[in-house]
Symmetry: C2
Subunit: 321 residues, 2 copies
C-alpha cells in the first residue's frame, strides 16, 4: 500500500507533461500555464487510492485521475472568473494573465480534455464511470450556482450551507474515490461506503478551510487570514455565530457585516470567540470525521489496506494550510 505522498509522486510523474496540442497557441498555452502552477492534486491521488484499496493500481486509474484533475482545474478557471479572483496559488489567474474570453474558452477546453482522457478507459466500466463523472460534474456546477445565490441572500441556514458545500466540494472527492474503486473492481456496496466516506471527509475538509481562514497562521496558510470575514462570506463559523449569538452580539455582527471598518476582522473574531465558535467547529469536524470512519469501517477489505485513507483523512482535516 502506498501513502498519499508516494502516490502523489507517481501521479505527478505522469501528469507533469503537456496536456494539449501545440496550436492554437493562444488557447492552449494559457491552459498549460494554469496546470503548471500546481496544487495539492488531492483528487487524482484519491482516485488512485480508491483503486489501491481493492487491488493493484491499473493504468486506467492514472487516466481517470488525470480526467478528475483536469475537471477540477476547469472549475477553478471558471470560478476565478465568477469570483473576480486575481490570484490562485499565488499566481495570476487565467482571466487576469490573459483575458476573460480566453479564460472562458480555456475552461471549456479543459473540461472537454477531461472527457478525452475518460474515453480511453476500458469499455467494460466506461459507462459506469462516465455516469458518475457526469453526475458529479453537474452537481459541482449546482454547488457553484448555490454559492453565488447564497452570497446575495440575507439568511442562509446551516442545512443549506452544508448542502451547497456537499455539491461544490464533497461530491468530487467522493466520486474520485469511487471511480478508482470501480477500476479496482470493488462491489457496489463497497463503492457506496467509500463514496460516503469521501463525502463526509469533504465536509470536514471545508470546516477546516473555514476555520483556517479565521484562525490560521498567516505564514502557513498562504492566503490572507480573515479573507472570508472581510468579504462577508457565509462560512460554518459565521453561520454558527449568528445562530448562537445573543441579541447584542447579533446586532454587533450585523453592524460589522454592513461596514468595512479597518478592525472588522479583529472584532468579528472577538464575537466568534465569545460564541465559542472555534471549539464548536472542532467538534463538528470530529463528528464528520467519525461518520467518515464508520463508512470506511464498513468496507469489506482488510484493515491494513485502509491505512493510507485514514492518514489522508487526518491530514486533510488537520492541515494548517
Amino acid at each position: 500500500m502506498l501513502s498519499f505522498q508516494e502516490l502523489s509522486v507517481q501521479f505527478n510523474e505522469q501528469f507533469d507533461t503537456k496536456h494539449f496540442p501545440e496550436t492554437p497557441h493562444t488557447l492552449y498555452a494559457p491552459g498549460e500555464y494554469f496546470l503548471s502552477i500546481g496544487g495539492k492534486r488531492v483528487r487524482p491521488v484519491m482516485c488512485m487510492m480508491g483503486n489501491e484499496l481493492f487491488s493493484d493500481i491499473h493504468s486506467d486509474a492514472f487516466v481517470a485521475a488525470r480526467a478528475v484533475e483536469l475537471f477540477h482545474n476547469f472549475t477553478l478557471v471558471h470560478d476565478d472568473m465568477m469570483d473576480e479572483a486575481g490570484l490562485r496559488r499565488g499566481m495570476p489567474t487565467v482571466h487576469t494573465k490573459y483575458d476573460v474570453n480566453t479564460a472562458l474558452l480555456v475552461g471549456d477546453v479543459m473540461l472537454i480534455r477531461a472527457y478525452e482522457f475518460l474515453q480511453n478507459i476500458q469499455p467494460s466500466y466506461l459507462p459506469k464511470i462516465l455516469k458518475i463523472f457526469n453526475k458529479t460534474a453537474r452537481e459541482v456546477c449546482e454547488g457553484q450556482q448555490l454559492d453565488m445565490d447564497y452570497a446575495k441572500m440575507e439568511e442562509v441556514t446551516m442545512e443549506q450551507y452544508i448542502h451547497m458545500i456537499t455539491l461544490k466540494t464533497s461530491v468530487l472527492l467522493a466520486a474520485s474515490l469511487e471511480i478508482g474503486a470501480i477500476i479496482g473492481g470493488a462491489s457496489e456496496n463497497n463503492c457506496h461506503h467509500l463514496y460516503e466516506f469521501g463525502k463526509k471527509i469533504g465536509i470536514a475538509f471545508q470546516i477546516q478551510d473555514d476555520y483556517l481562514d479565521a484562525y490560521g497562521d498567516a505564514a502557513n496558510f498562504g492566503k490572507e487570514v480573515g479573507g472570508d470575514i472581510k468579504q462577508n462570506k457565509k462560512t460554518f463559523l459565521l453561520l454558527h455565530a449568528l445562530s448562537v449569538a445573543n441579541n447584542d452580539q447579533r446586532a454587533a455582527l450585523a453592524e460589522l457585516l454592513n461596514n468595512d471598518n479597518p478592525d472588522k476582522v479583529e472584532k468579528v473574531l472577538d464575537i466568534f470567540n465569545a460564541c465559542g465558535v472555534g471549539a464548536w467547529a472542532e467538534n463538528l469536524k470530529s463528528k464528520y470525521l467519525q461518520e467518515a470512519f464508520d463508512h470506511l469501517e464498513s468496507i469489506a477489505v482488510v484493515s491494513a489496506r485502509k491505512q493510507p485513507l485514514i492518514e489522508l483523512a487526518n491530514y486533510l482535516i488537520n492541515r494548517n494550510k
Copy 2:
C-alpha cells in the same frame, strides 16, 4: 426515407421537454429558456439522417442527436458572451437576460448535460462516438479561439479563414452525420465519406452565411443586412475582395474599415460588386457542393437513400435566411 422536415418533427417531439432538473432554479431556468427559443435543429437532424442513410433509426440516434444539440447550444451561450451579443434568434441572450456568471455556468452545465445523454447509448459503440464527440468539441473551441485571434489580426489569408470555419462550423455538421452513421452500422469507409460530405457542406453553408449578410433580403434574413461589414468581420467576401482589388479599391476598403461612416455598408458593397464578389462566392459554393456530392457518391448505399441528404445540402446552401 424521411425528409429533413419529417425528421425535424420527430426530433422536436422528443426534444421539446425539460432538459434539466427543477433545482437550482437559478441555474436551470436560464438553461431551459435558451433551449426554448428554438433554432433550425440542423445538427441533430443530420445525426438522424446519418443513421437512416444505413438503417432504420435506432433510439440511440435520438439520444446522440440531443447531445449534439445541447453541445451546439452550449457553444452559442458562451460565444454570445465572448461576442457581447445582445440577441440570439431575436431573443435576449442568456448573459443579457440574466447575468454573465449565470451564462458561464449555464453553458458549462449544458455541455455536461450533453455528455449525460451520451452516457446512455449502447456500450458497443459508446467509446467510438465519445471519441468523435470529444475531438469535435475541442476543435469547435479551437475554431472559436481562431475567430477571436483573427479579429485582432491585420491580415488573414483565405486558407486561414477556411481552416477556422472548418473548425468552428464544419466539423460539428460532419460529426453529427458520422455519429448517426455509426449508430446505423456504417463501415469505416462509408463513415469517412459521410464525414467529408458534412465538412464540405459546412464550408458551403458558411459561404452562404457570409453572402446573405451582404446580399440577403432583410425581410427574410432575420438579422440586419451588412452586420458583418459594419463590424469589419473577415468574411469570404471581404477576404476575396481584398485579394482581387486594385490599389485604389484596396485603399478605399482600408479607409472604410477604419471608419464608421453612415454609408459604410453601401460603399463596401459597391467595391464588392466592382470586384465581382457575388459571382465568385456562388462559384466557390458550387465547388464545395460538388466536392460534397462526390463524397456522397462514394458511399456504398443505394442512391434512393441519399436523396434526403441531397435535398438538405441544397436547402442549406441556397437558403435565404
